[in-house]
């Protein structure tokens, strides 16, 4: 544990206090792992992925009983049957702030941060757990984190909350939802496109200097907005500087050094199943090549308008379907959980030393509500994978009625596995001891 490697300023940022400049200068970056001292890289690192789907699940088929191989699963979870021994079924967690606003948007935008959401014209949430990790733990890889999505965000305001809340669970800062990559090909490029064009560095230096000049002349609010730009330029610059310089990875090497699947075709696939599969493949590939250790995959929006002609369910969009408990709703639920199973299966097939890649991963699946009726006083949460041997699967954790049942408590526990130990996160100061 070496959090002192990070400046206080950065640390504060992570907690949702935006301070501007200079950004991450004390940071070590990809290719400089040993001096970062995050971990002597003798064994495979821990990866974390968050999968999300909106509108909850079937009210009667989200359950689990028993332990290990004997665990029995509700129909929604049927696709995970093979992974029961690596599954943590977590019941009873909630996000207190999400109870306060209206429905949908305000139940989603703070799912990974536990932060209060601003309504009306404002946008304010909190830095999400994946991005907090990205800003620290993610620095050791070429791409700090991948933020993927399979449904275009909805450009309107719903019930006095911007719909960007229902389209983003990942937040770079309290005012900056991380833009989603919807194009499989561009996500692939982000991981593997290395060619740095001549002149890029000069251009970025120049515009960075522009932004610094402007910064002095604008209001504090605008400065905060401009800092998004400054930070972005710096990160791109750093990536350019690091391009082609392989760091000294002491001991451990990823099992794959270059992609073993072709670059996906341009555009967004018409078929939603194909879209999800490509994104899942990229997620796995990013982990396997150790190009990134953090990925958020938002399979659809909360208040989603996806249809599922592939399942023969195209007469009703996801959101409206969620208001029923029909067989088709169940079918759609299973389809989403199949994505988790697909990823898990691929990860399990990759051997990293003694363990599989699945053993070195924490796959979290969550939704904004329990069922389609907006009830979020407890949320559906799954954790799959060994977390580097730190997580014992095949268990059911039930926090119903317990005082410490914040989602943020789970996040504190998960960050511990990555050796990012914080005293508090969001609305929690305690860990979930059982995780």
């Amino acid at each position: 544990m070496n959090t002192h490697y990070f400046s206080r300023r950065t640390f504060l940022r992570g907690l949702g206090v935006t301070m501007a400049l200079p950004w991450m200068e004390s940071h070590t970056v990809w290719g400089d792992v040993s001096s970062a001292g995050l971990k002597l890289a003798s064994e495979a690192p821990i990866r974390m992925a968050v999968l999300f789907s909106g509108n909850g699940f079937h009210s009667k088929e989200w359950w689990a009983q028993g332990e290990g191989k004997q665990m029995k699963l509700g129909s929604v979870l049927e696709p995970l049957t093979d992974f029961r021994e690596k599954l943590l079924f977590i019941r009873g967690l909630y996000n207190a702030e999400a109870l306060k606003g209206n429905i949908h948007s305000s139940q989603t935008g703070n799912l990974l941060s536990g932060a209060p959401l601003a309504s009306g014209g404002e946008i304010r949430s909190g830095t999400s757990v994946d991005q907090l990790l990205a800003q620290r733990y993610g620095r050791s890889t070429k791409v700090p984190s991948l933020v993927l999505g399979c449904e275009k965000s909805n450009p309107s305001v719903h019930k006095n909350y911007s719909m960007l809340y229902s389209s983003h669970i990942s937040w770079t800062s309290p005012t900056t939802p991380t833009p989603l990559e919807l194009y499989p090909a561009l996500a692939f490029d982000r991981l593997f496109k290395d060619d740095v064009s001549r002149g890029d560095k000069s251009i970025l230096d120049a515009v960075l200097s522009d932004a610094k000049d402007f910064r002095r002349q604008i209001s504090a609010n605008d400065q905060r907005k401009l800092d998004e730009y400054l930070d972005s330029v710096r990160e791109v610059e750093q990536r350019i500087e690091q391009a082609g310089q392989k760091g000294e990875l002491q001991g451990w090497r990823p099992t794959l050094s270059a992609p073993n699947i072709p670059r996906p075709p341009n555009g967004i696939p018409q078929d939603i199943a194909e879209h999800m599969r490509l994104m899942s493949d990229i997620l796995v590939l990013g982990f396997q090549t150790d190009t990134t250790r953090l990925t958020t995959l938002k399979l659809n929006n909360d208040h989603s308008s996806l249809r599922f002609p592939n399942l023969g369910v195209d007469y009703m969009i996801h959101h409206l379907l969620s208001h029923s408990d029909t067989a088709d709703w169940l079918k759609v639920n299973q389809f989403f959980i199949q994505q988790l199973a697909y990823i898990a299966r691929k990860l399990e097939a990759i051997q990293e030393g003694e363990r599989t890649l699945l053993d070195n991963t924490m796959l979290m699946y969550c939704s904004s509500m329990m069922t389609g009726n907006h009830n979020n006083d407890q949320l559906p949460v799954l954790l799959l994978g060994g977390g580097g041997g730190h997580i014992q699967g095949g268990r059911i954790l039930d926090y119903t009625g317990k005082p410490n049942r914040q989602m943020c408590s789970l996040y504190l526990s998960m960050m511990d596995k990555c050796e990012i130990r914080l005293d508090r996160f969001g609305d929690s100061t305690e860990r979930l001891a059982e995780v």
Binding site: A118, T172, Y229, Y315, N373
Partner: protein, 1378 residues
């Protein structure tokens, strides 16, 4: 609650800047109200839950101890009002305040809030720094580059909305490393569309040099096309013609008006879309103001024009066109070299031709018609349209010429014909005897003497001699052959393929080796091949050295079968003048044709057996023909074996036995081969073939009878032909007589029966005045027409030859046109296409030349070379050929010429023509001079000038760099929407310089500089620099221009706005308002329609809506673009035409194409064109409620949803706030249960007490729209076939039915709510933030001020742009607390 107001107000209080009116009298009464009316009610009904301990809903109301405290956090109190209004608070199961208490609380809080709003009215609010959203970025790029096909944001993450629900709110517009990378890539992509020009840069839809060159070419062609017509044959470099008919037509149609000055040529030109300059010039020429010097052609044109009516314009134009053809010629571009420094070749594409000559040569082929015995030749002399002074013409020695005969002077024709006619009688009378004599002479072993034979048979020896020659008896007349004389030393680069003939064609070649090669036709080993030309056969003759029978075999093989149309072949026997065809046919396609062997052909020494190869149908391409010829008699002959080893040994060539002169290689015309063939089947043919002497005698008698009696209707065709042959004065029997008579014949025999031929010899040799001249010349004075009748049988095949000149004695200053032809000519006026004859160096010649030049100047055959890229050559050095001086001279003003020059310069610059030309030259030089050493002379001189040009061009490219960099800086200025600071200019130049030092070439460095501009914060963000301190101040003019243009156009300010900003005038609110009105008229306001109008209605991007079941609505995907277009067009119309805001609901028109009209069931509208359609209310349309977009968007994937529609109506159109849905909402069944309509299903759901509270407010609106299905079609029954019930009963008891009822309700009862909501949204959009309490007075002001003015949209927008909110920005140090 974390919204703006609490922070704002505490901030105001802290810095103490407010001159708060709350301390006035009203405030005191409000303060009293607070303590006496508000607080007690709160205490009694609210504090129970909203206290510091319970803090229900994060709300503690106990802390508001005073009015001041309350006014610090008005948002909290807005929430309180809202809860009261919705009836949400206090909760139903808690004690409720009385109506009076509730009203008191409501009024008290409202009054306080109103006071707060007034106090801070006009606050610009917190507008967060705005990044250009994807739409704004795209539009901005398009407007900056002028390229509307660019889609730079296509793969950007989609934007989000905030504030009032629009995508132009800074909070929701985020940046990330991934997005920044996309901006950088997009910037580079856009920069790749920059076209670097000599003086700067522009942008193109394309990003390759090839496309830019094509663009440039297209621009020049487009320029030309405005003036010219492309007529004629494209391949022949036609085009660029003057559309003269239209101009002449205009002068004729408007002659009166133009003459009396009621209309000017300029006005007429504008009316008709003609070129004013040329029309004026033409008018001036046709109506000269002062007397013009005589100008032959123009004078005549004027005359004709004066008499012409409007419908004569085409004929007039056609005459001009004929003269254009006569006065100009066109050259191949490939032959023009002088513009590239060459010293030979034509000067230009279009060159003047002067049809002026000093002598007129006539060679007139006479082909008599078969049905007439005469040919008439006319010799015409016209006065060339300028009077007949000195028009004395000499037709020099007119005569008849035919190969093989002495020439016959026209002067002698009359006598000559008369003599021959007499002679014919003598010949015919002695036919029988002559033939008998011939029979005797043809007996084998006969030895005879002509004179004795004639005597014995009592025939004139001359006549008998002619018969014997004709019949091929005796060897006196060997046929004359036209031998190949040229030696072909190698063919197809093979020196073993040699032969005779022309290097082109015809020729004969032989392969001396056993090697098969292609030349490019097939040359087999030891082959002999021939190649005819288009007019000449290639012939191989075997001249018999023996007497006796032979067998003849021949094979003909088309040796170049891949192309061409094959050849004809003929095998023939020639004896004297006699020719006998043995066989004939066609060979094509590579298969050998074996000529049927000719058995036992009796030959005599000197007989010629020939194989003749001719072009088929005059087409001699690819006609190389392999030939074999073998003869077998006492000896054997084989052409191939005997001549192929040494073909060049001689022509004629010896045979294998050493007989000299056996093989003959020659040519003959394809048509009109010399020699005579006796008609097969005729009496004479029978005479010839029989060996029985009695029969011979009988046939001889019959031939005589035929000749003397003449042809009757019953005469067989062969005999009729025989008669024609033998009776012809030009025929074989008269050869002797013709030779004997010759020229200068004097009549000995007196007049003969029949017509008088030719002319009176007395007419020759003297001028009309009587002066002596060459005795064979015919002298006339123009105008003159001499008609000459000639005997057809004498002149068939002859040429009539003469030369016309002006009489050197008396015609020196004459000018005439001459014609000699066999039809009656009309030379009564000057004819195009016929040269004018003058004496050399004469004044007349100068006058005619000048007249032609006058005409050429006004009527060039082409105005310009519109092809530009030459198409007439297989190989041409010229890449782009410019010739447009006539267009410039006649049509263009200096500005247009400058524009054209600039376009050409751009084309040369972009294509790097001088550099390309240099390399093209080197290749062509190499290629051309290798095969054609003579071309060195032509190409050599060009090398140095071409090199010099290329060097100069490279230098020019370097010199253009600074101006291109300056252009990039100007682009930056446009992109940043304001002038660059000196530091910015310097930095941009420095970046460019640095990139150059990184060894990037100029173009790349410049493009990267452009990319840097496009990724700069000053471009991507709408940066505004507030004044220091806390006070709001007006934004500067540039920022204001940007605010206005992004509000109305979602894009960068245009030139006019920038100029107003530059001159600091935009800050004037009247100027600003005027600009807003101007901009609303512009087509770019379509973007406002989409970004504001459609976004407000939640149908933004409807064209990609993917929420409908394909199974239920297969037509939807094909219609959604049209549906969206209707909404966009409706809003665009609304803004552009300053419509009243209520028209959004009540318009009785909409915009439709055929497909959408069909969807709506509106008849009579077809096709893909969009049009405004009126009277649509009758079909249940008109206004936003009747649009498929809103109806479909607020429906499910397969069925309607009254709840969605009702909710949308409440929230979006009326601005009502609805409480959060309760927990534990019952679950809806998957499909409507049998027998329930969608309405009943909704009613069932909403009937639950948990839900009813809200749904009674929402659902009725939705029910009223139930007569529209889930994709907006009208319906009377639902999907299950149950009848629709569109009646609605609102919570307050109001009842109405259907869309009409709903619309009326909204326009009357809810009019204010609708207007308020619309203005609120419009204001929020215009400011890019959520509307706040302090905006309330402005919204009220708009609504009230426009009440008497129809609520017109432009008025509302004017009030907005004049407001302080819109024009000001909060001070930099306006402190907000967190």
């Amino acid at each position: 609650m974390n919204s703006n107001w609490p922070r704002t107000f505490s901030a105001l209080a802290l810095v103490g800047i407010t001159t708060c009116s709350i301390h006035g009298a009203a405030a005191r009464s409000l303060a009293t109200q607070f303590t006496e009316e508000i607080q007690p009610v709160l205490k009694q009904f609210c504090f129970e839950c909203h206290n510091p301990e319970k803090h229900k809903g994060d709300l503690d109301l106990t802390r508001f101890a005073s009015l001041e405290a309350m006014l610090k956090e008005p948002t909290v109190w807005e929430g309180v009002i809202e809860q009261l209004h919705l009836g949400e608070m206090p909760p139903k199961d808690e004690p409720q305040p009385s109506a009076v208490e509730r009203g008191r609380l409501f009024e008290g809080v409202s009054a306080a809030l109103d006071e707060a709003a007034r106090a801070h009215a006009g606050d610009p609010g917190a507008v967060v720094l705005r990044r250009l959203n994807n739409a704004e970025y795209t539009y901005t790029i398009r407007d900056l580059t002028g390229v509307n096909s660019l889609e730079p944001a296509r793969e950007f993450p989609s934007d989000s909305a905030a504030g009032e629900g629009f995508m132009n709110t800074g909070n929701a517009l985020v940046m990330s490393p991934a997005l920044l990378t996309k901006y950088l890539d997009a910037g580079k992509e856009i920069a790749s569309h920059a076209v670097l020009l000599p003086e700067g840069l522009r942008f193109s839809a394309h990003n390759s040099e090839r496309d830019w060159t094509d663009d440039s070419l297209a621009q020049i062609r487009e320029f030309y096309r405005k003036f010219v017509v492309d007529g004629g044959d494209a391949a022949a470099n036609q085009g660029g013609r003057l559309p003269l008919e239209r101009y002449l037509g205009a002068t004729l149609t408007e002659r009166t008006a133009l003459s009396n000055g009621t209309k000017s040529t300029a006005v007429l030109a504008r009316e008709l879309g003609l070129n004013a300059r040329y029309l004026a010039t033409l008018w001036e020429v046709l109506n000269p103001q002062k007397t013009q010097p005589a100008s032959l052609l123009l004078d005549e044109l004027r005359l004709r024009w004066q008499q012409a009516r409007p419908e004569d314009a085409p004929a007039l134009a056609a005459t001009v066109a004929q003269w254009q053809q006569a006065l100009w010629k066109f050259n191949s571009i490939g032959h023009i070299r002088r513009h590239l420094g060459g010293t030979d070749g034509p000067l230009a594409w279009m060159e003047p031709v002067s049809p002026v000559t000093t002598k007129w040569d006539v060679r007139l082929k006479l082909n008599p018609p078969t049905n007439s015995n005469e040919v008439v030749v006319y010799l015409a002399a016209g006065d060339a349209g300028d009077g007949s002074a000195q028009d004395y013409v000499v037709w020099q020695q007119p005569q008849l010429v035919v190969p093989g005969r002495p020439n016959l002077l026209l002067r002698d024709v009359r006598t000559f014909a008369r003599e021959l006619a007499v002679r014919r009688e003598q010949i015919f009378a002695s036919t029988s005897r002559s033939l008998d004599a011939a029979a005797e002479a043809s007996t084998p072993s006969a030895s005879w003497d002509l004179a004795a034979l004639a005597r014995r048979h009592e025939v004139d020896p001359e006549i008998l001699g002619a018969w014997l020659d004709y019949l091929g008896i005796g060897s006196t007349a060997q046929p004359q052959l036209d031998y190949f004389t040229g030696r072909v030393e190698k063919s197809g680069e093979y020196d073993f393929i040699r032969g005779w003939g022309s290097p082109e064609t015809p020729l004969l070649i032989a392969n001396s080796t056993a090697q098969a090669v292609r030349v490019p036709g097939n040359m087999k080993p030891h082959a002999v091949a021939v190649h005819p030309s288009s007019t000449l056969n290639a012939c191989i003759g075997w001249r018999s050295p023996i007497s006796g029978p032979v067998r003849v075999e021949a094979t003909v093989t088309h040796a170049h079968p891949e192309c061409g149309n094959g050849v004809t072949w003929t095998l023939e026997l020639r004896r004297g003048a006699l020719r006998q065809r043995l066989a004939a046919g066609v060979s094509q396609g590579g298969s050998p044709v074996s000529v049927p062997p000719v058995e036992s052909l009796a030959v005599q020494p000197g007989d010629l057996v020939s194989l003749i190869i001719g072009p088929r149908d005059g087409n001699h391409s690819c006609d190389l023909t392999d030939v074999e010829l073998r003869l077998k008699g006492a000896q054997e002959w084989n052409l191939n074996a005997e001549v192929s080893p040494d073909i060049l040994a001689g022509n004629p060539h010896a045979d294998g036995q050493g007989n000299p002169g056996v093989w003959h290689f020659y040519t003959e015309p394809v048509s009109g081969a010399t020699g005579t063939l006796i008609p097969a089947g005729s009496l004479l043919a029978h005479w010839q073939s029989t060996s029985d002497s009695a029969e011979k005698t009988r046939f001889a008698a019959e031939v005589q009878s035929l000749l003397t009696t003449g042809v009757t209707a019953s005469t067989p065709a062969a005999d009729a032909q025989l008669h024609r042959q033998l009776a012809a004065l030009g025929g074989p029997l008269f050869a002797g007589a013709r030779n004997r008579l010759g020229n200068g014949v004097q009549s000995k025999t007196g007049s003969a029966p029949g017509p008088e031929w030719g002319l009176d010899p007395q007419l020759f040799g003297r001028s009309p005045g009587g002066t002596a001249a060459d005795p064979a010349d015919l002298l006339v004075s123009a105008p003159s027409l001499v008609e000459i009748r000639l005997p057809a049988d004498l002149v068939a095949g002859c040429e009539f030859v003469t030369t016309g000149v002006l009489d050197p004695a008396r015609g020196v200053e004459g000018s005439v046109q001459l014609l000699a032809q066999t039809t009656r000519p009309n030379l009564s006026q000057l004819q195009p296409g016929i040269p004018v004859l003058t004496a050399a160096e004469s004044t007349a010649q100068h006058r005619v030349e000048t007249a032609f030049e006058d005409f050429r100047q006004l009527f060039p055959a082409a105005l310009c070379y519109t092809k530009i890229v030459p198409v007439d050559e297989a190989v041409t050095l010229t890449l782009y050929y410019r010739e447009d001086q006539h267009l410039q001279r006649l049509f263009l003003d200096p500005a247009e010429i400058a524009q054209l020059n600039r376009l050409w310069d751009e084309l040369f610059f972009l294509s790097r023509e001088p550099v390309l030309l240099q390399s093209a030259f080197e290749q062509i030089y190499e290629y051309a001079t290798q095969d054609r050493p003579d071309m060195v002379k032509s190409f050599g001189p060009m090398r140095e000038p071409i090199q010099r040009r290329a060097t100069a061009f490279r230098q020019r490219e370097i010199e253009a760099e600074p101006s291109q960099l300056s252009a990039a800086l100007r682009f930056a200025e446009r992109a940043f929407r304001r002038p660059l600071t000196p530091a910015e200019s310097q930095e941009l130049r420095a970046l460019y310089g640095q990139l150059r030092t990184e060894e990037l070439p100029h173009t790349e460095a410049l493009r990267l500089t452009l990319a840097r501009v496009l990724v700069a914060p000053a471009f991507l963000y709408r940066i505004e620099q507030p004044a220091p301190g806390p006070k709001a101040t007006p934004v500067n003019d540039w920022e204001l221009a940007t605010r206005l243009s992004y509000f109305l156009w979602s894009s960068t300010p245009d030139e006019e706005l920038l100029q107003l900003a530059e001159s600091s005038r935009l800050r004037d609110p009247d100027v600003l308002a005027g600009q807003a009105r101007r901009m609303l008229q512009d087509s770019r306001v379509r973007r406002l329609a989409e970004e504001f109008g459609c976004a407000w209605l939640h149908i933004h991007d409807f064209a990609t809506l993917d929420e409908k079941s394909e199974r239920h609505f297969p037509t939807f995907a094909g219609l959604r673009e049209s549906m969206y277009e209707e909404s966009i067009r409706s809003f665009t119309d609304f803004f552009q035409n300053n419509r009243p805001v209520p028209s959004l609901l009540e318009a009785d028109y909409t915009f439709l194409n055929g497909a959408l009209a069909e969807h709506y069931g509106i008849p009579g509208i077809t096709g893909t064109d969009w049009r405004r359609v009126d009277g649509v209310k009758a079909y249940g349309r008109g206004g936003i409620l009747g649009q498929a977009t809103t109806l479909a968007k607020q429906s499910g994937a397969s069925r309607t949803s009254p709840i969605l529609r009702g909710n949308w109506l409440c929230e979006t159109l009326l601005g009502e706030k609805l409480p959060r849905p309760p927990k534990g909402v019952p679950v809806l069944p998957e499909l409507p249960p049998q027998g329930l309509t969608e309405r009943q299903l909704t009613e069932q759901h909403s009937g639950s007490p948990k839900c009813a509270g809200c749904h009674v407010r929402i659902d009725p609106y939705g029910f009223s729209l139930e007569a529209y299905d889930a994709i907006g079609r009208r319906r009377s029954i639902d999907a299950a076939g149950l009848p629709i019930d569109p009646r609605a009963k609102l919570a307050d008891g109001t009842e109405f039915a259907g869309l009409d009822g709903l619309r009326d309700y909204l326009l009357t009862t809810r009019r204010d709510a609708f207007l308020h909501q619309f203005y609120r949204k419009l204001l929020g959009y215009s400011l890019g933030r959520g509307v706040q309490l302090s905006d309330k007075p402005l919204i009220q002001e708009i609504q009230q001020k426009l009440a008497g003015r129809d609520q017109r949209i432009a008025d509302a927008i004017e009030l907005i742009v004049r407001s302080p909110q819109f024009r000001e920005v909060r001070g930099r140090d306006f402190v907000t607390s967190n």
